[in-house]
Every structure is written in C-alpha cells, then in structure tokens.
C-alpha cells in the first residue's frame, strides 16, 4: 500500500492503495467516481474509458502506479454542467438504451473529436468500433458523434 497523489478532474485526491490497483477501481471504490464503468477488465469493451493527459485510456487496465502526475479526466469532469458538445449530442440524439456503456462511448468520442474535429464517417466508425454497446445503439452513437463534430469548434 502506498499513498498516491492523483490529479482528477482538476482536483487533487489521495488514495492509499496497492500500486497494481487499476485506476478504474480506485475511481470507483476509493474516490466515489462511479461514472466510469467496469465492463470486462481487459480493455476490450471501453466502458471504463477516461482521459489521461487528454488521451483516451482504458482505466481497467491501467495500474494506479503508472498514472503518476498525469491529469485524469472522467465523465464527471468532462464538463461542469454536462454540456460538453458530445454530451449534448448524446442527449439530443437520445442515444442511450440501458446507458451503461455510454460514459465510455462519450469519453472516447470526446477525445477523438478533439484531435479530429472534422472526421469522416469511416474515421468515426473505426474509432467507435473499439467500444461495445450490448443494446446496439451504434446507429445513434454514430449520429451523435457526427452531430457533435458539426458543433465542435
């Protein structure tokens, strides 16, 4: 066990956990940030996607000891009021069925659009195919990413 200092959503946190604990479980069990979801634990489904220094990362497979001083953003910190263009598009397109995978989808899309503000359909599909949605809301995820892209400056 070691006391680790973490920068999450522009706040400082400390967690006394074993270094091999995945960031996902520190967020959920230690810090009460449960918006980041557990789906598979082996970086296959993307439900646990967060941003680490702006890059989309599968938090289930990232040991907390490797996070260091990096800045972590979770769904709770993506925007102050839930009004990030991607979040707004998700609401307007009415994407969610059960909703469990959507935080990971949104985090993947937000990081993607930051780097590729004007993506082609093929780029959207290629990127978003890394995230599973068991309900099959893929059509609307694609539509929402396109909609957010058109509104992202």
């Amino acid at each position: 066990m070691a006391l680790l200092k973490l920068q999450i959503n522009n706040r400082s946190y400390e967690a006394d956990v074993d270094g091999d604990t995945p960031l996902l479980w520190v967020l959920r069990d230690n810090l009460g940030l449960v918006g980041t979801k557990y789906g598979c634990g082996i970086a296959q489904c993307g439900a646990c996607t967060v941003h680490v220094d702006g890059e989309p990362v599968r938090s289930c497979a990232l040991p907390i000891s490797a996070v260091g001083k990096a800045k972590v953003t979770t769904i709770e910190g993506l925007s102050e009021k839930g009004d990030h263009p991607v979040q707004k598009a998700w609401e307007e397109v009415d994407v969610a069925q059960c909703g469990y995978c959507q935080a990971g989808q949104i985090m993947t899309a937000a990081a993607f659009l930051k780097k590729n503000p004007k993506p082609t359909d093929a780029q959207i599909v290629e990127t978003m195919s890394g995230n599973l949605c068991r309900c099959g809301t893929y059509h609307r995820i694609k539509e929402a990413v396109k909609s957010a892209a058109s509104k992202t400056k």
Partner: protein, 714 residues
C-alpha cells in the same frame, strides 16, 4: 485505506481509516450528497399529494410518476410515465419519473420479461392517469361551481374556457385528493393522443451522460464490504475442500466464507478481494458428467434419430403426405450456447440485519429476489425490502436470482452489508445460458409446389419444449407434426432475449426459404400463399393473427422495393413473437468479392407505438442483437467449462459490423403489444437468406463465422 480530497471542498469525501482487520468504515461522509447511493424513491416525492400508486402531484406542479417495472434498457421508465401523463394531460416538462421499489401491494407484475410490461399495464396506467384527471376536474368544478362538462384540461392545467378561468394541477391537488375515486373512468379516444406516439427522450439521459450513480454496481453504502465468489470452474463439479489461509492473510480481506459450492472472499475493495480470490486453494469432485460441445453435437444427432419425442402439435396425416410428395426437403439447423453479456455484470447488495433484509440491485424479478432472501434468512417476505436500480442490460440474465441469493448468504454469514460483484469472467462462465439447440425440418411439396406436409423436431437442453408449435407455419399446412426431445444438462440454462424463438425463428425462416426455392416460388409470394391458406382453410387452430402477418410482410416488401434492386441480394423473414409481428428484409451487397450485409428493412406491428424514439431504437437494437449473435456469438464447452471467458474470446458485434436498419411501424390503432424482443427473432434469417442469394450457400448453423460456407466467402 485512506483517501482524502485536497481541494477547497475538503469534506467532499472523507474516508475513515480502517486499521487492522476490524470493521471497515468505507465512506465516512460528512456530505451525504457526495455519496454514490441511490435514494429512497418515496422520499423524492415527499410533501406531494398522493393520488394513487402511480403518481403524486406537488403544490409546485411537479408530477411524480412511479415506474414499477425494472428498467434494463427497454425504455419502460420513459414509456410507462408517458401513458399515465397522456391520460392525465400532464405537462411532460413537469413530470419527474421515479423507479418504484418492489411493492406487491401497490403493483402487479413488477417483472421485466417476455416483452409484457406495456401490454399488461396499458389499461392500468391509462386508468391511473385518467382517474387523477377526473379528480382534478371535479375539484375545479366544485371550486368554480360550473359543470364538469364545461371544463377541459391541457398541459397540467384545468381550464374553464368560457370564463377564462384556469388553475394548475398543483393548485388543485389538495382538494382533488379529497374527492371520492370513481368506479369507472372514461379513457381518451386514442386518436386524440398528444404525447403517446411522440418521440420522448430517455428520462435518465442527463444522469447517464454525466456519470451519475444509477446502476447496481454504482451502489455504495457506509461500511459495505465487497465479495467475489469462486464458483466451480466447470458445470458438474462440486466443492470438496477449501484452503483459504493464504487468501485470508491478503491485505483488505475480512473473511472467507463457504456456502453450497461457493467460496466467497469478503473484503474492503473489489481489487483486494479479486487478488485474494486468486490464491484460494480449492479441490472439487465430479458430481455430474462434465459435458463438452462435442458431446452435445453427438447427443443431438442421436436424439433426433431415436429420441423419445413428445408430440407438441399434430394435424392431418403426415406419413401419408410425405409418401405422396413430389418433393421432400430436409435440413437441420443448430446454434451454440450464448451468454447474455449484459455490459453491467451481475452484482447485488444485501444487508441482513437483526430486523430484516435490505436488498438493492439490478434484477428483472425483484419479487423472486425477495422471496429467496426470505427463505435464506427465515424472515417473512414483508421484512425484505428490494430497491430496484437501473440495469446495464438484462437480456433475461437478471430473471435469475442467483446473485441476489449469493449476496444474502454472504451478508448473513459476515453480518455486514455486502455487495457481491461478478467479474466479466464470472459473468460469462457463471451459467444460465441460452442453450444450444438443434432442429430438423422436413417439408413435403406436391407437384404444384404446395407445401402439403411439414415436420419439425427440436432437441432442446433443459428447455422443456424448444418449439413454438402454434406459431406459423402451423395452421397453414394440412399435415403437420411438431415434436421435441429433451437433453438434461448440468450446464445451467435460462431465458435469453426472445427465449426459444431467438433461434427457432432463424431456423424456421431459413428453412422456409429453402422450401420456397424448391417449390420454384418467390420467398414472399410463397409465404403469402401459406397465409391465405391459413385464413381460408386453416389446418387446426390458428393462434396468430394472419392479417397482421400479411400486413407486415407486404409493408416490408414495399419498403424494401422487394426484388427490384439491382446488385442487391435480398432475403426475407417474418415472425410472430411476444404478441407482435415483425417482417424483415436483409440486403447483401458483394464488395470486393465479399458479401456484406448493408441494410435491414423492418416492418413492425406492435400496435400503438408509445414512444417513437424509444421504439425505433428498440427495433434497431433488436436487429443488431439478432444479426450480431447470428454472425459471431459462439460459446463452446470443454469438460464442463466454457472455452470463452471474456470479450476477447466471445465476440460481440461492433459498430463497423452493423447494417443500416430502416424501421417502419404499422399504424393500426391496436392496443400495444410487446417490443423488447420481437425485432430480434427474424433478424438472423433475413441476413442468412440474403447471404444465400448472394452466394448460393446456406448458413444452417450459427455463428456464421464458424460455417465453412461463410469462411470461404468472407
């Protein structure tokens, strides 16, 4: 374990240290709002006037509508309140939807399964809304001293148009609640609906997109312990001995307890418990045969040949028909096991106290969880409360109460609040699968290509009857025999979205495509002739509505421009399940020498559509689910253990693999029928029949990717 936030809001999360192996204090929180906990639904409407089990109206005009049925992604938490709000003439922007706890005194059928919620509750919900509206109108009539016939309601207001008077529902709520409830209440003319049939967004959208605690796995409670359970690694094994010494010494571990064949590691965090579980030393012994998929394949074929079959339906003289046939077509179809794979794995919270039991979590059958907990603890069921969380998918898996039973056992044994968590591997290897099934079909055609005989034998596994003997084509063939043979397997099985029909529809609709081809007929024309036969001279009882079958068939043909698209290979499928009718056309295009499923056109008759947005997505999602599992879903066994343990081995469909899905609803004003499942069963055959057109290769087994025919073409 210690974790202190250092920002200006120092008290946001303050976690007390747990020293030694004693009581874990978990979140010791000075600001309760920061705790990811799900509040008591009743408290959300505190101070408001209670009209009935379904709604309260506050003096602030907020109408709280309770949705009793578990929400697993089928949209019931949005659709149910819409029905109440419609009859109430509520202002939807002032409606708050709350998931009700289990309350069998207030609500009937608090179950999610069988696409049955809306059909069951349609009248009840309408009456709940209409009754409240009646009381509000009566109250206004009294206050204004005008007859109720002069009073109208609109968007949360009661109006007297001739005098220009108006009052909000909130202003009238107290008075209205004192008026006697009428025995009968008039419901709206369905043509005058203003909310039902519109697109209304998921009521939980805002919480979903901002990551609020909604799901069972998001439930945390002060002092709560975490438990992971080691279950036998193969079906057919039972526990012999456990050495938990090493596990108990691992950091954060509070206890290791055993019940049945399960060993629960209990501790202070999910990760610590997971690591400790890995060092358990457990010996198992064989209790039943350890079955492999190779065994199932052999057993299926044997049972199809010589199994003792139970007759499910018999019409006419099948032997005679086959003897006189000009042509006989025979084919066998098989599917593998499937895990449900809801993205939120199984989990449940239980707190067995001295005075009762508290259960919280994702379940499609809260009453079953309660009764099981009552049995385990000896409390009467009324001493067990069940809070239903939002659920990260269900697909039938959460009809089983096994994980709620586990949580109850563990909490009882360690005398603390406990959340049992399943890893994905636990979820995929933990059982209650869609069982493998094999069907043999035989059809007899006369010289003119009429189907004069039809035989279906199904070999099921733990499913009792793997056929739906009264579904089409029963009623349309004079000589028909449907029977089934059963294999009892120690591998646990259970309902999977559209139980039985999720594969039966595929097999039957693919086989009918083969028969149509043998008869030299267009697949749609062939089915339409059978429908006509079922209408004009039915063979035995017809338990589906033939006209509704015809209507969706024709709608799908029309919307897909059937048979008229160049370079597009179309396949047809139509199925009746869960009271609804769905026809689909799959469209395959050959790109760079490979057949690709580009589109699925779906014609759906589920009666009145409640929520256009939710319903459209329900159909699209059902098609994606049906096509995805037909193409990729494969769970195999070796010596009683699944070969696939996570999403690296078990393949789920991804965005790059889906077809476009074009949805058309039949507008016939019939009371709503099911929609959570009916779009799934026909999807696989619409795809397979289109692949056949493109490649001339039949796909008789699922998943397609394991078929030789498909391997050689894709």
């Amino acid at each position: 374990m210690q974790s202190v936030e250092q920002s200006s809001r120092r008290n946001f999360l303050k976690i007390a240290a747990a020293t030694g192996g004693g009581l874990f204090l978990g979140f010791n929180c000075s600001n309760a709002a920061a705790l990811p906990s799900i509040v008591n639904p009743e408290a959300l409407a505190a101070g408001a006037v209670n009209f009935n089990s379904f709604l309260t109206i506050g003096n602030d005009n907020i109408i709280t509508i309770f949705s009793p049925n578990p929400e697993i992604g089928q949209g019931i938490k949005t659709a149910f309140p819409m029905i109440v709000a419609e009859e109430l003439d509520a202002d939807w922007t002032l409606v708050k939807t709350v998931q009700a706890n289990l309350d069998t005194n207030k609500y009937e059928r608090q179950v999610t399964g069988g696409s049955g919620a809306v059909p069951h509750s349609w009248e009840r919900l309408r009456k709940a809304g209409a009754t409240a509206r009646y009381l509000l109108v009566e109250a206004a009539s009294k206050r204004w001293n005008v007859p109720t016939s002069e009073i109208t309601t609109e968007k949360g207001k009661v109006l007297h148009k001739s005098s220009g008077k108006s009052l909000t529902y909130g202003e009238l709520a107290d008075e209205a609640s004192k008026i006697a409830i009428p025995k009968e209440v008039k419901l709206k003319d369905e043509k005058s609906f203003t909310l039902i049939g519109q697109s209304v967004r998921n009521v939980d959208n805002k919480n979903i997109i901002t990551g609020k605690p909604l799901f069972g796995l998001d439930f945390y409670r002060e002092g709560m312990l975490f438990a992971l359970i080691q279950r036998p690694k193969a079906f057919g094994l039972k526990l012999k001995s456990v050495d938990s010494d090493a596990a108990k010494k691992m950091p954060g571990i509070v206890d290791v307890v055993t019940f049945g064949n399960s060993v629960a590691v209990v501790g202070k965090s999910t990760w610590q418990v997971k690591k400790a579980r890995e060092v358990l030393k457990i010996d198992y012994e064989k209790e039943f045969d350890l079955e492999s998929s190779a065994d199932h394949n052999r057993i299926f074929k044997q049972l199809l040949e010589n199994g003792e079959a139970t007759v499910r339906r018999k019409n006419g003289n099948v032997e005679e028909a086959f003897k006189n046939a000009a042509k006989v077509i025979t084919a066998e179809y098989q599917c593998p096991f499937l895990p449900h794979s809801p993205l939120e794995p199984m989990n449940f919270f239980a707190h067995v106290r001295e005075d009762g039991v508290e259960l919280v979590g994702p379940t499609q059958t809260p009453d079953r969880a309660r009764n099981e907990a009552a049995k385990i603890t000896g409390f009467p069921p009324e001493k067990v409360t069940v809070e239903i969380t939002r659920q990260g998918g269900g697909f039938g898996r959460r009809l089983s109460a096994d994980y709620a039973i586990e949580a109850t056992h563990v909490s009882k044994m360690v005398k603390a609040p406990v959340k049992v968590v399943w890893t994905r591997e636990d979820d995929m290897t933990g059982g209650t699968y869609r069982p493998a099934v094999r069907y043999r079909f035989e059809a007899a055609l006369d010289k003119s290509g009429q189907m004069i005989g039809y035989k279906l034998r199904g070999v099921g596994m733990n499913s009792g009857n793997p056929t739906r003997e009264d579904n089409f084509p029963s009623g349309a063939v004079d000589n028909l025999l449907i029977d089934s043979v059963e294999h009892k397997s120690p591998i646990t099985t259970g309902p999977w979205r559209a139980p039985i029909t999720n594969f039966l529809a595929y097999a039957e609709q693919s086989f009918l495509d083969e028969v149509a081809e043998a008869a030299g007929k267009d697949p749609i024309q062939f089915r339409l002739e059978l429908f006509e036969k079922a209408k004009k001279s039915p063979a035995g009882e017809v338990k589906y509505d033939v006209d509704r079958m015809i209507a969706v068939t024709k709608l799908a043909a029309e919307k897909s421009n059937w048979g008229k698209k160049k370079g597009v290979h179309q396949g047809f499928s139509v199925y009746f399940s869960h009271r609804s009718y769905v026809a689909q056309v799959g469209e395959v295009v050959v790109e760079k020498g490979k057949p690709v499923l580009k589109n699925v056109i779906a014609a759906v008759d589920c009666g009145i559509v409640i929520n256009k947005s939710g319903s459209l997505q329900q159909v699209r999602g059902g098609v994606v689910d049906g096509v995805g599992h037909a193409m990729y879903g494969n769970m195999t066994f070796k010596d009683g253990a699944p070969d696939q343990t996570n999403f690296n081995g078990f393949r789920l469909i991804r965005m790059s693999e889906i077809p476009e899905v074009d949805v058309h609803f039949v507008d016939n004003g019939i009371s709503p029928t099911g929609l959570g499942e009916p779009a799934l069963p026909p999807a696989g055959a619409a795809a397979a029949n289109a692949f056949y057109k493109a490649t001339k290769k039949r796909l008789r087994n699922q998943p397609f990717i394991e078929e030789e025919a498909f391997k050689s073409i894709s």
